[in-house]
Symmetry: C2
Amino acid sequence: MSINHAVLGLLSIKPFSGYDLKKLIQDSFFMPWSGNNNQIYKALVELHDEGLVSKTVQHQESSPSKKIYAITAKGSAELKKWMLAVPDAPEFKKIFLIQLAWADQLDQEEIETMLSQYEKEIKIQILIRQEKKVRGSFSPDRTERETYLWDMIHDNLVSSLNYELYWIKKLRQGLRRFDKEDNNHELSSS
Amino acid sequence: MSINHAVLGLLSIKPFSGYDLKKLIQDSFFMPWSGNNNQIYKALVELHDEGLVSKTVQHQESSPSKKIYAITAKGSAELKKWMLAVPDAPEFKKIFLIQLAWADQLDQEEIETMLSQYEKEIKIQILIRQEKKVRGSFSPDRTERETYLWDMIHDNLVSSLNYELYWIKKLRQGLRRFDKEDNNHELSSS
DNA sequence: GGTGTCATGTAAACAGTTACATGATTTT
DNA sequence: AAAATCATGTAACTGTTTACATGACACC
């Protein structure tokens, strides 16, 4: 249930409403959730029940009333405990690799089509991350170290995608030797 | 619902029972599912309903009867169609990055502890992949190209993990400049 | 007058995991 | 005698997404 901890982490910066958190998660470049209502409001109820956050209702005329959540001392302790706990290994869900696993049933041009499409998809993802990095800078007064950590988090995700592009290139090159037209001459002469 | 297509892909090699498929998916180094009963048996029912696989019941004395599934012509066509469809972008779920995002609240030694634990976790994952690559070679008569593709799939996943190790090293190095003991002298003299 | 933002919440569906259940045979 | 393997299947739960629902205000 790491989304609860992610919400707790956001609230450790400053108090937010559910609606704020929803947008923060949607615009975040490193949180893997869509940030839909169901998750956020449920997480807040749970965190409140556990006493990890406090709730203040802000009535406003000509607008629905806001519920502002703030982290409690107990919440801060829980967040720290979670950070120091044994981390999960990263999870890669690369459905493309499964498509590729049976691709020997295809001819060279068809595989090339697959690779091109995958490449295009990756490039879109890189642009999205980069765009989100600009928009999703919600922590204003940062220490130098915090800025460095966030830059490295961004670097991690973009580099992972860039590695994917490099890997496609390598795969393309390696596949050339299976072309019907014998390209070995070309390869050895270059 | 890509697990259905993954099952279809496995059946494109040769016919299997549900139990066989379950173990193949569990031992696979590139399929991201646990391969539990619920998923496999449900997938097979669905594939059968759609006419993508055929079912043959094999009665055996002194053992429960087996249901052997084989891919149909319709199934082969569907598999090919799926392979040529627009691929999904890879999904990275790196909860560690979220833990790290709030780590400015910790001191240097505590962050170092986090990194060490993450490093350890990654190394375990690499060993698991490597181990699974040896066990999970279920396709016996391979073409040269298929062998190459599978090697590259394995390379992709292991390299992704190795990149994570490299990134940790880079992060550690970059964090040194925030140590209280001024290590800059050391850095500039080396 | 339609679309977008603010602000909350619920319902239904899909995806995925763990655990339960049975029963025979084989291995330790 | 206990544990693992073969072989099927179901139940309960967690996690996640999409869509529905309301209502006021602002912008084009």
